[in-house]
């Protein structure tokens, strides 16, 4: 879908502003994970939830390949693999699913929340998981929710978006007369969450909650008094359903680097009417630490060109970060979807020389990448080694999703992720 098509389609209520960038819309082969990938981090984040994918052997194999070996110990996810006979009769498939869920919950009494996760095959055969979820909730006394993470509907991080949107439906209404509350959405590593909690408290914002919460029972209330801050750029659907419940979504840059984190906190501070002086004194120590940490990496990265393949939707905020804070030069910034509204604070900070690309045609994009010969290419795992073999330096984009990168204290780590491939190249004496 091209940008214009996005802006015009029915689900796009926002007017696409005139952007000063060269923009390509591509519709060829996409080389991205499906939303099932989100389960790999979500099942760690929500400590009493279990994710049951209703899918094929492919889905199970994908999860296993994406999760690797790091979580071999009995994980809180599994796949109910559809077989020949399940395709024949939906009634039978429902019954079998009930059976599997019954046994699963019997074996894992620690599970407080079960997600039935829809996949491409379950969607194509029309298995109604929301109906199944309702029935099972009634039957087992454990909350059963459902969402789709199929490759037909979602790319990579959009799986988390769908999961959180499903949780929003379970959030209680805010009490009448409740005061203003801040809701931060997007799963963050616990340590980062705690850092933000301290900063918000110093700003005087103590009525604060995170979605997802570490325990499934800790869902915060939502309503007109709720202001929402996105910690991740890929949460369009979650933002939409929160707005439908009366919440206000704050427009902000994303908390990457010293500047990004400052702007992100500022959006909340302004909403709470925190005065400029207080704000500055609260953020100053963290901001200074971040800047110090970035200065070292900047020496190596300044002036280096960078090319982003579309993957997690973090691409635009990260391109902003590396150009604004590290002096890198983004050549092309690919993203699976361009959500203009949630990027409104980011796009103006991106150098106009960058080319934006929405969607993908991987072979053409590889052609452009080869002819641009960037100093660093950010891409998925399937492309990294082949590009290295062609002499390009790469950074796997998935690491940007699995590593703590948000906030002041992680700014240096984030920069190091971009610096390490280049440093290694120097160490090994590989020419440019």
């Amino acid at each position: 879908m091209t940008l214009t098509a996005v802006a015009k389609s029915a689900e796009s209520p926002c007017d696409a502003p005139q952007l000063p960038f060269e923009i390509i819309g591509e519709n060829g082969q996409r080389e991205v994970f499906c939303g099932l990938a989100g389960i790999v981090w979500l099942h760690r984040k929500i400590q009493d939830a279990f994710f049951l994918v209703v899918g094929s052997r492919t889905c199970a194999h994908f999860l296993q390949s994406a999760a690797g070996v790091m979580i071999f110990a009995e994980p809180r996810f599994a796949t109910a693999i559809l077989e020949e006979r399940d395709l024949a009769g939906l009634a039978d498939a429902h019954e079998q699913l009930e059976d599997i869920v019954g046994r699963l919950l019997g074996r894992r009494p620690d599970i407080r929340l079960l997600f039935l996760v829809g996949s491409c095959p379950s969607e194509v055969i029309g298995l109604d998981l929301s109906l199944a979820a309702q029935r099972m909730t009634a039957k087992h006394g454990v909350k059963v929710l459902n969402y789709s993470a199929s490759g037909l509907e979602t790319a990579f991080t959009q799986g988390e978006d769908r999961c959180l949107a499903a949780l929003v439906a379970e959030m209680p209404d805010e009490r009448p007369g409740a005061g203003p509350a801040l809701l931060v959405i997007g799963s963050l590593p616990d340590i980062v969450e705690d850092q933000f909690r301290r900063l918000f408290a110093e700003l005087g914002i103590s009525n604060l909650a995170f979605l997802p919460a570490r325990r499934s029972g800790d869902l915060p209330p939502v309503g007109r008094q709720t202001a929402v801050l996105l910690a991740q750029p890929f949460l369009a659907e979650t933002a939409r359903v929160l707005e439908a419940r009366g919440a206000t979504v704050l427009t902000a840059a994303f908390p990457f680097g010293a500047e990004g984190t400052t702007l992100w906190l500022k959006a909340a501070a302004d909403r709470w009417g925190v005065d400029e002086l207080t704000f500055r004194s609260v953020v100053a120590p963290g901001r200074e630490r971040a800047k110090r940490a970035l200065a070292g990496q900047r020496e190596l990265l300044e002036g280096k060109s960078i090319f982003f393949f579309p993957d997690s939707q973090l691409e635009i905020p990260l391109a902003r970060f590396v150009s604004q804070e590290l002096g890198m030069v983004p050549l092309e910034v690919g993203t699976p979807y361009l959500h203009l509204r949630h990027l409104a604070a980011e796009l103006p900070l991106l150098p106009v020389s960058a080319r934006l690309c929405e969607g993908q045609d991987v072979d053409r994009q590889l052609d452009r990448c080869r002819s641009a010969r960037p100093d660093l290419t950010v891409c998925g795992l399937g492309l990294a080694n082949p590009l290295e073999a062609e002499g390009l330096s790469t950074k796997w984009s998935i690491e940007l999703v699995f590593t703590p990168i948000h906030g002041f204290e992680q700014a240096g780590d984030l920069a190091a992720l971009f610096a390490r491939p280049l440093r290694r190249r120097d160490l090994l004496g590989i020419g440019p």
Binding site: V69, F72, E83, G382
Partner: protein
């Protein structure tokens, strides 16, 4: 519907990709949603391939379902042909596309491309990866083999054979091929074709020119070899040369079929493994209890090597290859065991915990299981992880392969005098059994073997439990299990130090 946490095999189209990724000048167009492109990383990350697998995915999305996904398939096929200019195209559907019933074969044929099109029917909802690889290789051979290709007159030329079966992501396939080719050279036999690994469609066309086939991996090449036997009258050698005795048998079969002298190959000075096994240090290998699990080929071969060439005691074997269950069961039978045929790693884990072997030979899954249970382990079969694609030459087949097996299976064990010293001076603060074998990294604290009461409510007296703690770690599991079984059989409710030693003497008869 079947609940699965970790799987030994992927879906059939992964098998198809393993075949095509091993070949040259062949391209697969796979009708599949975007998420299925994850398959690429198996090759580029796990196997460290420096090129993307030759696969184009149509990556249809929800909005395409309302329209015409068939058109999308045709467009993707044309674009792939234009860009990659393969000698032949392979087309098929992954699971989701199979439900759409677009008929990639028909659509691709209708395009009238100037190259052969091989179509796949992968039965994604009933079959698995290895079957997919075998079926794909079979369809490629059937579709591309020139029916007129026949061996030339044997007079005045060396015998020629095809090496069949090695694929991408196979366990040590790359090195096995080199080792077997070396051996064939010693015998004076030419390799006409190795496939799928390294073969182009044009090479496959000439498959009928060889005098006979060598089936290195029956899981992938068995089907194709059967067809070649029927259609071209090519006999196949089915002995898999893993281990010394199998290699010697393999050589003799080759010599017979090719009419050459086996002696030079049989007397190879590469055969160190048998002396290593006979040397006195290896006395300690005697009756080491080993559990073996993996694909059928490697399990059957490993069972033979473990029991006959290393003198281990095989206490259990099993395989996830249902297609070859019969062969595995037959091998188990001969050892008086019952084979465990399953795709459920939890079942494998339970069996290992119950048997308490001293060594596990398995896949990456068993490596994790063994680690959790604190048992030594070596990997012998796919599926494997990145660390099982070594940079060094490390075949499993032939005499050099036998050397590799000796090293890699014996290394994880505690050996020789050290075994005694650990027992004698178990309270030495630097050299004690909590530290594990001296040549191995610090042992992870084993997860206590699931204390499944053998017979009801057995209890260990505190001092007996303490005494058990003094038994060296590499036999502690066995001691615990034997004692509990001994106590249960005699209706002893509380295990005392006496029970422990009674059991010891009972089982050492």
């Amino acid at each position: 519907m079947k609940l699965s946490v970790w799987t030994y095999e992927g879906p059939p189209h992964i098998g198809a990709i393993r075949v095509v990724a091993a070949m040259r000048d062949m391209h697969l167009v796979l009708h599949a949603p975007q998420g299925d492109t994850y398959a690429d990383l198996l090759f580029t990350m796990i196997q460290r391939d420096g090129r993307r697998p030759p696969v184009t995915y149509t990556t249809f999305q929800a909005r395409d379902l309302a329209g015409n996904t068939g058109e999308l398939f045709k467009a993707a096929t044309c674009a792939a042909f234009e860009r990659f200019k393969p000698q032949a195209l392979l087309v098929g559907s992954a699971c989701t596309a199979e439900l759409l019933q677009d008929d990639p074969g028909g659509l691709a044929t209708a395009l009238g491309l100037p190259v052969p099109v091989v179509k796949l029917d992968l039965s994604s909802f009933s079959r698995k990866e290895n079957w997919g690889a075998a079926e794909t290789f079979y369809q490629i051979v059937r579709g591309l083999a020139d029916p007129a290709a026949r061996p030339t007159d044997r007079e005045g030329r060396r015998a020629r054979c095809n090496l069949l079966g090695p694929t991408g992501l196979g366990f040590r396939h790359r090195d096995d091929v080199v080792e077997v080719a070396r051996l064939l050279e010693t015998l004076g036999i030419d390799v006409a074709l190795c496939a799928p690994l390294g073969a182009s469609p044009a090479d496959i066309a000439r498959i009928g020119e060889a005098d006979f086939n060598i089936v290195l991996y029956p899981e992938t090449a068995g089907l194709a070899a059967q067809w070649l036997e029927r259609s071209f009258g090519q006999p196949s050698i089915k002995t898999v040369p893993i281990g010394i005795s199998a290699t010697r048998e393999f050589i003799k079969e080759l010599a017979a079929i090719a009419g050459v002298d086996a002696a030079p190959a049989l007397s190879s000075d590469q055969q160190r493994a048998s002396w290593w096994s006979r040397s006195v240090d290896s006395t300690y290998l005697t009756d080491k209890r080993v559990f073996i699990f993996g694909d059928a080929t490697h399990v059957i071969a490993a069972t033979r090597v473990a029991s006959q060439e290393l003198g281990f005691k095989v206490v259990g074997i099993g395989s996830y290859s249902r297609e070859f269950a019969r062969d595995v069961r037959a091998v188990a039978d001969r050892l008086g065991l019952e084979a465990l045929i399953t795709e459920d790693y939890l079942e494998v884990e339970a069996t290992i915990a119950l048997l308490q072997p001293e060594l596990v030979l398995g896949t990456q899954m068993e490596r994790h299981i063994a680690k959790r249970l604190g048992i030594a382990c070596a990997v012998i079969s796919a599926p494997v992880h990145v660390q099982d694609f070594p940079a060094r030459y490390s075949p499993q087949m032939g005499f050099e392969g036998a050397n590799v097996l000796f090293d890699s299976w014996v290394h994880p064990l505690v050996l020789g005098l050290e075994e005694h010293l650990l027992t004698m001076f178990r309270e030495d603060f630097e050299f004690n059994d909590a530290k594990g074998a001296s040549h191995l990294p610090v042992r992870p604290e084993p997860v206590a073997a699931p204390a499944e009461p053998v017979g009801g409510d057995l209890v260990w007296a505190v001092d007996a439990e303490r005494e058990l703690g003094k038994v060296p770690f590499f036999v502690r599991g066995k001691a615990r299990r034997n004692t509990e079984r001994f106590a249960a059989e005699r209706g002893v409710a509380v295990i005392t130090i006496g029970t422990l030693y009674d059991a010891k003497s009972h089982y050492s008869r």
